[in-house]
Amino acid sequence: MADLGRICLLLALVVCAYGIFAAVYGVRTGRVEFSESARRAVYALAIILTTAFAVLEIAFLRNDFAFNTVADTSSRTTPTFYRAAAVWSSQEGSLLLWAWLLSLWSSLALFLVRRRMRDIAAYATAVLLGFAAFFISLMIFYATPFATTSPAPAEGVGLDPLLRFPTMMIHPPMLYSGYTLCTIPLAFAVGALATRRVDADWIKAIRRFAFAAWLFLGVGILLGARWSYSELGWGGYWGWDAVENASLMPWLTGTAFLHSLMIQEKRGMLKVWNVSLVLATGTLAVMGTFLVRSGILNSIHAFGGATLGVPFVVLIGILIAGSIYLVVSRRDVLRSEHRLDSLLSRESLFLANNVVLVALCFVIFWGTYFPLISEALTGTEASVGPPWFDRYTVPLALILVLLSGIGPVIAWRRATLANARRNFLAPLLGALATLVVLVAAGVTERPFALAMFCCAGFVFASVAQEFVRGTRARRAIAGEPPPLALLALVRRNRRRYGGYVVHVGIAVLFVGVAASSSFQHAVEQRIAVGGSTRVGSYTIRYVRPTATITPKEDRAHTGSTLALGAVLDVSKGKRHVATLRPSEGFYDSGEPAQGSVGHLIGGQAVSHISMSAGLTRDVWTAIAPDISTPALQRIVTIGNRTLSAEEAPIAIGVLAREYLKHPPAAEFHFIVSPLVMWIWIGGLIVFGGGLIAIWPAPSTVRRRVALRSRSAHGLARA
């Protein structure tokens, strides 16, 4: 089987090489059949890589430990669900996932434009195949997923317990889909620049892909945050970690592009800016992959012993140099067709939003790469922490949310006093009402949070106003009842109203972020059974200890040998709120040196947090049980001396009983944070809005819209 995989990779590289040649040759000589053949090479690549991926996936499911990557990241005790996801937990496997997703998305993109934009598509084909060739070469020469060992080990190391969390199944594929989708607009931008056809056509072709990239990346980031919040025992959802930042940067420039492309479509402006954003987004996506793969920056995500730094630096260098060359050499065709009419117009507001987003991206870039920058300049590696990031990102985020409320209601070209009064009254009242209510409720000690809530009020009111007006207008024209009119309104202007829904979602999300970060109560304390502590307005009492022994055969569990925990009673005043059961799982280390009993619990320890989540607040709890007491350690030591490997689980049972009988005080971590739930709800709203916007319009509607926009274009030119 491994041979089939290796052959697939070699074949894939050959197909890439042929495709690149055919695409470039075809477009240079005008021989269409070669460009066509290059496109088919992409389809072929998708089939080959699907086969390769299937080979690896099957190896994981069949516990084929002859594959090194299977032996390193999976085991018989790893539950099936996580075995299937373990494919992308290793360096090699995630490279394969990258290349595979790239081939699928490229095929789809090129299939959709198969009858249009031949020349642009040919260059895009070459670029996309170039990326594929790069990743396939890495897998052939640096980190092959199909390396094998003979004879095969009897058992694998197992999937890292920290990764045994349901979103592990979708977080990496989502993020990688986002990253790979970012390269499609980049490829078409290169095509447009190379052929000097930089009008709105190529933008229309990739618009949906840019949106999909943005959506996938956003969902991936949010799932990562969710994982961090409910699996990593620190209770935060964002830590300005290098890899988190790496995924956020292309998302920010992608957001900027999705806004500024509308200006190019409508007014033929900002061409240089748009191609630059697209090229930057693609490059940042590759840099994001590079950060994880190279281990160049310290991060909880960095893979130890990663060696892919040099090839990635070369690729990024080519991308940056190529982008600059293309934009500079084509600047004559990139001139704007119009000038900005007024500083008070939707165009200039979009520009402002772009500037803020790019500034945000730049701040994060600087902070993320600061260790490298400072090492280059001063010789010592130094890094900046979350407070540094917050200092810049908080005000920028405030401006951004405010702009997302102003954008929908300000007029194109030039806003006059009259239409400003008409459009801004309701949103301003919304913001004002929020302010009055919150000040009356006594929420004044955190000015930034207060400002964020008011901005959100502004956004909600402005979007609501747009929906109400639109619905009313449709009722006036078509005479439909309100719900039907609303539905028809959204269906006919998916992009616009989907976008507004996204704005609401983002505002909701930021309300959650502002509230949970500003009004959080956290307590870390050592508590004995029966003891209690106050966290905010809640009292948490340690009722009794728990111990669960997970038999090795039990596949439904995530596979820890022993889980020690606590039953906690959460109350507010006299009222019982919830009973929580946090625990910590102790995993087998597989190290014989730790002794027959010791190794069973000597591996990773993973927190299983327990929380009572609600619309108004989350009560989050984690426990770190103390197993280093002399009584417990004695059991392990005696067990190591007297018990064989088969008998060792008996000692774990004794240990668990002893822990329950004489529980030592345990270290607890409690967090009460308000409105966290709204971060995830906001994310869902964004996702819903994104789906509305991206959903293909019925073909008749599309044709009509195309006709209208063409005639509008003609009028604008005339």
């Binding site: 909880i300 130890g304 500037v355 400072s374 130094a382 540094w388 304390q525 050592r526």
Partner: protein, 130 residues
Amino acid sequence: MRLVVALSAAVLLASALIYTSFSAASPALSPSQLLRQAQPGRSYQLTGKVVAGSVRHEGDGLDFSVADRVGGTAIPVSYSGTVPDPFREGREVIVTVEKQGGRFVGERNSLITKCPSKYKTAPAGEKQNY
């Protein structure tokens, strides 16, 4: 005119970034470098391996020693706050520390562990890669 405004705003932001990042940053040092360079009152990012047998729970805190990746220099650190799950003896950690008197005190909740060694490829010789 607009270009001038935009450019000066960009320059302003950039210089603020440069200034604040250099003043707020804490240099990353290995234990032996730290022993040589540490000044009281500044914070440093100490990176190295947790010395086997050095981890001790003291009340709410945690004491451990961090050693150079290669070589023997080790520094004892007293730390308090969240301990990441993968924290183990022998594992590589990064912790922000400050010199207080003769000892190094870890900043609360600043302890990071590098990814578990499971991600590392097995030592050469054990497996034949081809």
